[in-house]
């Protein structure tokens, strides 16, 4: 197995608050890696550091490295727009743009100048919507506003939008937290399919979800990485006492 994302001694501060402390993890290719921990432990912050979307927040400083494909994404020479295209992200609340379903999926193709011919865009839109199992439901209303979809459909659309630009890595920031259990289960099934092609990192505070879908799990607490191992080990036989207390439901 090859390492896809290598996080080395990574620190992050929000102005004076030290949110991530000396994190080092190697995330493997084409697997699902879950990050768990109580609210405020820094799991979302770490995820948002992998595509540098944290850069948009004022007062953020970092030290250390995150290497993707052998280069440090925090290097001055990094093309951040290209990085974000290569490292897609799905957010906690579905955030489709207030434009048509079709335009939502085509957006990434257009802004990144991946395709400009209508035929090519049409094809990619169809392919992307098919791979999130949304195509059959909405193929007749592609011109409708994306905001008319149900929450689950919106979240699928957001995933399709990411897939359309052909990233290598997909970051999921609590993608099911605003969905009902049935929708959650279906999105989880989708994740299992997507891992064949993509390296997936998911943040969740639903421990059962982490146990169900992930191969590896990182447990974080107060900005530190406590333990990182294969999921089964984290949930059945963790090395650290804090991990054990958390996964057995004693706090969090």
């Amino acid at each position: 197995m090859a390492t896809k994302i290598e996080i080395k001694k990574f620190n992050l501060w929000y102005t004076d608050f030290h949110a991530l402390k000396d994190i080092s993890i190697n995330i493997e290719e084409k697997r699902i890696t879950a990050m768990i921990g109580p609210s405020g432990c820094g799991k979302s912050t770490l995820l948002r550091s992998i595509n540098r979307i944290n850069d948009t927040i004022e007062g953020v400083r970092v030290s250390g490295e995150i290497n993707i494909g052998g280069t440090n994404i925090y290097d001055d020479k990094t093309d951040v727009d290209f990085l974000r295209r290569n490292v897609g992200m799905v957010f906690q609340r579905p955030n489709p743009f207030p434009i048509s379903i079709y335009e939502n999926v085509a957006f990434g193709l257009k802004v990144n100048r991946i395709a400009s011919k209508k035929g090519v865009i049409d094809e990619t839109v169809e392919e992307s919507l098919k791979s999130v199992l949304l195509w059959d439901d909405i193929k007749n209303k592609l011109k409708k506003s994306a905001l008319e979809l149900t929450l689950e459909q919106q979240q699928r659309l957001c995933i399709a939008r990411v897939i359309a630009v052909k990233p290598e890595i997909i970051l999921l920031d609590e993608p099911c937290s605003s969905l009902d259990p049935v929708a959650t289960q279906r999105i989880e099934e989708l994740m299992m399919q997507l891992k064949e092609k993509y390296t997936i990192v998911i943040v969740t505070h639903n421990m059962h979800q982490a146990a169900r879908v992930s191969h590896d799990t990182a447990f974080m607490l107060l900005g530190k990485l406590i333990e990182f191992d294969v999921t089964e080990k984290i949930f059945t036989n963790p090395a650290q006492k804090e991990t054990h207390d958390y996964v057995s439901g004693r706090f969090g």
């Binding site: 595509n51 979307i53 948009t56 727009d81 290209f82 974000r84 295209r85 897609g88 992200m89 957010f91 609340r93 955030n95 489709p96 743009f97 207030p98 434009i99 957006f107 990434g108 257009k110 802004v111 990144n112 957001c158 939008r161 990411v162 630009v165």
Partner: protein
């Protein structure tokens, strides 16, 4: 005792609330009464499409086409100037400016809204009008163009503040989503933020237009007030508002001339009503 005070206060508040409606209805009723009396004698079509405005000659001619064109020309000119600048500065304030600059800019824009129109009028008259005359080498600087520029100053605060509101209320998650897909900051603003804010921006433009159409003092001082159909924006024009303001004092109460001015007021009222109605429509849409 407390109950009585309560009901008294409630009644007072009710009366105050209802008063504004009563006033609007009364003003409209008065306009209608005088205006219709005029239309009955002169006819709506010949009033609106008539090219000559000679209210005091014999026989008098009451054609307001040149006044309507004057108003529209000055308004359109003001929009061409104020809309792009207004939207750009709204974008700058809400998306780009560092917070210190932002606060200063916002107060400046609000201050601009507080400048009385007569002040804009005379400042324009003594500074801008001679400049226009010299630069374009025309017989007079009192032109539709001068009026448009000064009115653009008056429409700008409305356009900037309301568009800025609309842009700022676009959910952050839209922009974040766009950036996360590899869009540059400008792509995210142009393709997503501006699109999402568009109903609010259109409402802002409409309210700006409403202000310009109804503006009287500044246009009266700097557009030259010649009631003829202009061939270019560099000729003097006369607006509907300026006509009413300039002539109302000389009319005989109850006479045709007097009533014709009310008819102009009615036309003006209809225009601003439509503009405000469209603005409301879009404001409602942007709130959703």
């Amino acid at each position: 005792m407390r109950k009585t005070i309560d009901s008294i206060i409630e009644t007072i508040i009710f009366i105050c609330g209802i008063l504004s409606i009563v006033f609007v209805v009364m003003i409209f009723g008065f306009l209608l009464k005088e205006g219709f009396a005029f239309f009955k004698e002169f006819g709506v079509i010949s009033f609106i499409t008539g090219k000559l405005w000679y209210p005091t000659s014999d026989p008098a001619k009451f054609g307001i086409l040149s006044l309507i064109i004057g108003s529209l020309l000055v308004t359109a000119g003001a929009c061409v100037i104020a809309v792009p600048i207004g939207i750009m500065s709204a974008l700058y304030i809400s998306e780009i400016a560092p917070s210190g600059v932002k606060d200063v800019l916002k107060s400046c824009v609000e201050l601009m809204a507080a400048v009385p129109s007569v002040v804009i009028g005379f400042v324009g008259m003594v500074t801008f009008v001679p400049l226009v005359r010299a630069v374009f080498d025309i017989p007079t600087g009192l032109t539709a163009f001068s009026g448009s520029v000064m009115l653009a100053f008056m429409a700008m605060p409305t356009i900037v503040t309301i568009s800025e509101d609309a842009i700022r209320s676009v959910p952050w998650s839209y922009k974040e989503g766009a950036l996360a897909l590899g869009a540059t900051k400008w792509q995210a603003i142009r393709r997503i933020v501006l699109k999402a804010a568009m109903p609010g921006i259109i409402a802002a433009i409409m309210l700006g237009i409403g202000r310009v159409v109804g503006e009287t003092m500044a246009v009266m001082m700097i557009t030259g007030n010649a009631a003829h159909i202009p061939h270019s924006i560099f000729e003097p024009v006369r607006t509907m508002t300026a006509t009413i303001a300039a002539e109302m004092g000389e009319t005989v109460r109850g006479g045709m001339h007097y009533r014709s001015l009310f008819a102009i007021g009615l036309v003006l009222f209809v225009i601003t009503f439509i503009v405000n109605f469209i603005a409301d429509l879009f404001l409602g849409k942007s709130k959703k």
